[in-house]
Amino acid sequence: MTEPLLQIKHLRKAFGALVATDDVSLTLYPGEIHALIGPNGAGKSTLIKQIAGNLAPDAGEVWFEGRDVTPLSTVERARAGLGRTFQISSLAMDYTVLQNAVLGALGRRGTVWRFFRPVMRDADLRARAEAALHRVGLMDHAHKRTADLSHGQRRLLEVAVALTLNPHVFLMDEPMAGLGASGSKRLTGFLDDLRHEAPILLVEHDMDAVFALADRISVLVYGRIIATGTAEEIRADPLVREAYLGAEDAA
């Protein structure tokens, strides 16, 4: 088998007595969608933060494209090619939709020390930004102020900004949240294709999307991964049924 692009090795993070990440290891291979599911408070966001570099783990390592990126900052990991979207939209709210996308294209280019020429007239940055907006279907709203977007549109803009970065790996924290049924279905189709550009580590609550998309699923409960496998394997796993899916059946 090929080498994993992203490899998490025995990650551990505790807040006092609460162990939020307990010896977590997982891998992401080229071309796959690896979904991370788990009940609320299982430590999914804490894990994502450690992979993206916002939070330093107590122990363990994050390997990306064959090197240990654990000591690298968020900025350095983004530059290395880790494209992240946030659970709660994290955008420049006073900017237009297009400006947010151009910001991503600018980050991708990496040379920000230009003090004179208007950035919005940079044909190259604009083309990259508009292409990303077009792909998620936000081009009609390009000149809207981001704060005036609906919740679902903001989620799509998050994805568009990640696209402008041309990342080697996508790290998506609940991209479907708040999208509604049709939007969610549309994004599912989009991510289905996107995996061939760069693999996706997908944290998601929308189980229809997860089971439709994921090549592999890992189930996180109380900071531990209790099972990893294909959709069928996860559905059949008694531990998962008890800890997670079972709880939904009962409810």
């Binding site: 900025v75 994290s90 400006q99 991503g104 600018l106 003090f115 940079d122 102020r145």
Partner: protein, 328 residues
């Protein structure tokens, strides 16, 4: 379509030289001097606005750069006045009365100071950042007071205004022209800066630093460069202000000075290109008009500031032109 803010900006821009020319015609040199003061103080505000408006960095220590610019002028000119070289070893450095040279020294010295102060202060945010910039300003204030070589508490008087090639700077209208052209040039560059790639990233870091990090840009570096540019512009304003008064004293370093520069920006409109011009003009107008009625005119200024902060967040420019339009 030209936006309303652009029209207001041009009107404000034309108002200063119009005032100066009318005053010249009416033979009122004092009014010309007031207009010059507005131009110079607005310049200091334009400097602060790069850090405060664009970068969201609430610096209460910009008097440090204003003072450094002032003392750059004072020290160079006083050595030229006394014919005593500034330094003899290892290289001979003499004083000068040439404005362009003084400006260059003022810009470089205040930029260096901003680099050092910024590098330390920008590791903190919020109220700690305000306190640290304030502390640096106060350090320089007390340093200036206790530095007898350049007048200490009494400051330094310069008897003849420094020269600009081809101009008689002692003529009020000619010195006004110098200050106004400098302000215009800096406004032009500040306007371009806000729309340039750097400006886009800097203002994004103000709105959401996490977003900027996620696209692979480091907010700290953006802010540090903004702080240096900001300090350099305010330093240049300091050199001009010292030349206007032909006098430098530690009060240029005082925290009241930092507060006044911030008031220009807030009154006029934080982050609006012409905000500091409107703010400084209003401040000087109030000082002149209300100051004639009462020594305690700051009471009214305080009331006005309160109204602006409570009801007109965009300052005067915001009140006249509405909310800032996201431009692309």
């Amino acid at each position: 379509m030209i936006q309303r803010e652009t029209l207001i900006n041009w009107a404000l821009f034309a108002l200063l030289p119009a005032t100066a020319l009318i005053a010249l015609w009416m033979d009122e040199p004092f009014i010309i001097t007031l207009a010059t003061k507005v131009a110079i103080l607005a310049l200091a505000g334009v400097g602060l606005n790069i850090a405060l408006g664009l970068g969201g960095l609430v610096s209460l220590g910009h008097a440090a750069f204003f003072g450094i610019g002032g003392y750059a002028m004072g020290i160079l000119a006083s050595h030229a006045q006394s014919y005593a070289p500034l330094m003899q070893t290892p290289v001979l450095i003499e004083g000068t009365t040439s404005m362009p040279v003084i400006w260059l020294v003022a810009i470089l010295a205040s930029a260096l100071a901003a680099l050092a102060i910024g590098a330390l202060s920008l590791r903190t945010t919020g109220v700690y950042f305000i306190m640290i910039t304030l502390a640096f300003g106060q350090m320089l204030y007390y340093f200036a007071i206790s530095w007898p070589a350049y007048g200490g508490e009494d400051g330094l008087s310069i008897y003849v205004r420094n020269g600009f090639p081809g101009l008689n700077t002692l003529d009020p209208i000619q010195f006004f022209a110098v200050a106004f052209v400098v302000l215009a040039a800096v406004l032009f560059f500040a306007g371009r800066l806000a729309r340039a790639p750097f400006g886009l990233a800097l203002a994004a870091a103000r709105q959401n630093p996490e977003r900027v990090e996620t696209v692979g840009l480091a907010p700290y570096r953006l802010r540090l460069v903004a702080f240096v540019l900001s300090g350099a512009v305010t330093g240049l304003a300091g050199a001009l202000f010292a030349d206007l008064n032909r006098f430098v004293s530690p009060t240029m370093f005082s925290w009241q000075m930092s507060g006044e520069i911030m008031i220009f920006v807030i009154l006029g409109g934080v982050g609006r290109l012409f905000g500091p011009v409107a703010g400084a003009a209003l401040f000087i107008l109030l000082e002149h008009v209300l100051g004639g009625l009462s020594d305690y005119w700051h009471v009214y200024l305080g009331g006005l500031l309160l109204l602006v902060v409570l009801f007109a967040r965009g300052g005067m420019i915001g009140l006249a032109a509405g909310r800032e339009v996201a431009h692309d």
